[in-house]
Amino acid sequence: MHWLYLHFPRLQLDQFEQLHPEQTAPTVVIDGTDNTVCQLSAAAITVGIKPGMGLAEVTAMHAQTWIIEYSANSESSQLEQLATTLYAIASDIVCVASNGIAINLSPLVRYYQGLDNFMALCERTLTAQRVHFHFGSGTTIEIARVLARSRVNRVETEPELADYHLKNCSLQATELPAREMEQLNRIGIRKLGQLIALPLEEIGKRFSNRIITYLLAIKGVKQPPYSLFHPRKLFSQYLELPYAVESAPGLSRYIAVVLGNNCTYLQKRNLATDTLQFELQQREHDNLVFVVNAGTAHHHLSEWQMLVDLKLEQLTLDSPVTSLTLTCDQLVEFDPENLSLLQSTYSRHAENMLLGKLLARLGNDSVKTVQQINEHRQDYTLQQTSPLHNSPASSEANGQQPAWLMVQPQPLTEQTQILYGPERIHTGWWDENPVKRDYFLAVTGKGQRLWVYRDEQQHWYVHGYFG
């Protein structure tokens, strides 16, 4: 087998630079376990910051350095996103650790009619993702990984050339534990070629079986088992924010990134959704979950972004948000029928877009269609249904009805003249809300047409207005 290994040395920093392209100050990612620099920007290199430096040293070198805390979750999420992207061009993919992807090249040589064709496509795909990467190739993932970490950036088809590059690699590029590497350094072994030259029996006397297994893989004798990557059937992405965001509208630029990934995911699979769920991790409070609904299922980034922005305008955060997760699990097959430009009938697309906007800004129960229900008690008819759920309307007339109803009938306090009635409603004797009322149409001196009723106690109330 022939494996390609893609090493992403600064995934978290790449993401930060995508989110904040305007940032020009030196930026470093600090590993919280030992407070040392693990990723650094070009500007940080320019001012003399080096990997492995401590936090105090970094601030001493440049006081205005941006410091981001390393997050393994964030890198894993990004790596999964990259693997999902690469899955469109390659089949056998393995996610290794939190910053590497291995691709089996053997089936691709024939498919792409040459490795060069595939490598060009692969590089183009990754460049579009705006990530820094190095690569190497070998007969096992371990060989390819060492070459990638050594920044060989070549795909060698000749075994001799690959072997030559491998032997020149430093032990720092291997996955050997630090303790064992220190031991080897003390006896003068600094290159991988020197280690490979040692007999395995001798190494086995001094080191653990784990080292032997690793060396067998490095020699191309035995490949340890790996599970292949399969994209999720539902979209979900976690994003660690570079710093805590205090206001909901400030989240828009970060949500745009995951939203873009979501829309790309849907478009490539010819899927659409009408519901997105966001979970915001708040620093001092429980997670805040909110849902954004669209009028119809679609996968258009600009329209989703507009709906999310409207929702964010209405959202209040309890405390600053440190990370967010987008989940999209209600997927349907995309139906482009409604998007036809020259439809002779009225297109529902504009209507659905309007509905989405109204729901996002005014709330999920703000837009209703009106349906008649089989109930003479008007207090029960203030029930409306969502336009997303159409149901057949009843056409049965229910006496003279006013256009406007009061939620609670109000006592009639002004002088009126009764011009129509009575219409008696005597119902509900079978439940706990019996009604026995005589309804009338009454007119005030100003011409207002009131819907009034008299109850059993001969009290008069206004229940509505004839519009």
């Binding site: 309007l354 256009a403 149409l441």
Partner: protein, 257 residues
């Protein structure tokens, strides 16, 4: 600009991008797509400057005459009326005509409650959406979005008060997007005429209904236009029957021979 250049650019055969009437006979030559709505859209609809404005009659002859034929099909109109004065009854004919486009009718009752049973008796129930808002700023925003969406033929909005600036904004948008916006408000706090197509006030004077037209596009304002504004129901038939038959000897129950 010299007179010769001026006369040259006014020549009917000279193409002017912003002027539709650039052919010799004053009519722009157009090839139809064969689809009515597309052809109408390409012709500029009813909102093209200089084109004759489409009007929807209210169904009251003297009021339609005062309104130069009815309510302009695109734009905003204001009705100053108290709750229950029958403003929807007055507009019924206009709403029916707008509903024929099959586009949505948006109701913004603004803290009032539309009666589902009343709505279900109207022909435009299926195409109506009721949008509930908690304040008037949201109602104005929703109205604007509805107009811009081009998914709506009509927006009926109830407000406690409407500022002339907001009314003008809605008027301009509604004309641009071929939508009718009906603003219903009590009118106490709007002393001057609003910058809309029609600003009318519904008044009741003892036994007669009047309409005051504060502003009408295409006609002069008028006061005291008497209209028929019947009640949705009355006992008059029963009262008349009793009045007629109570005096008739032929219908007496007991006859004395």
């Amino acid at each position: 600009m010299s007179a010769s250049i001026s006369s040259l650019i006014k020549h009917p055969l000279v193409f002017r991008g912003r002027d539709h009437r650039h052919t010799a006979d004053g009519e722009e030559a157009r090839l139809p797509f064969g689809q009515a709505n597309l052809d109408k859209a390409c012709a500029g609809g009813g909102a093209a400057p200089g084109a004759k404005e489409a009007r929807l009659p209210l169904g009251r002859a003297n009021l339609d005459k005062a309104c130069a034929g009815g309510v302009p099909a695109a734009g905003a109109m204001s009705i100053r009326a108290l709750a229950g004065q029958g403003e929807l009854q007055l507009l019924n004919n206009v709403l029916l005509q707008k509903a024929a486009t099959q586009k949505r009718i948006i109701w913004l009752p603004n803290r009032m409650h539309l009666n589902p049973n009343w709505m279900s008796q109207t022909p435009y129930q299926q195409q109506s959406w009721v949008v509930n808002t908690t304040n008037e700023a949201d109602a104005l925003w929703a109205c604007e979005q509805a107009i811009r969406s081009q998914a709506c033929c009509c927006v009926v909005m109830y407000l406690a008060q409407i500022e002339p600036k907001a009314a003008r904004r809605l008027q301009v948008l509604a004309r641009q997007y071929d939508c009718l916006v009906v603003l219903v408000h009590p009118g106490h706090r709007s002393p001057g005429a609003l910058p809309v197509n029609i600003d009318m006030e519904l008044m009741f004077n003892s036994r007669q209904w009047f309409v005051h037209l504060h502003r009408v596009s295409g006609a002069w304002p008028q006061q005291h236009i008497a209209i028929e504004h019947p009640l949705p129901a009355s006992n008059s038939a029963i009262v008349n029957a009793f009045r007629q038959y109570s005096n008739s000897a032929a219908t007496a129950i007991h006859e004395v021979s």
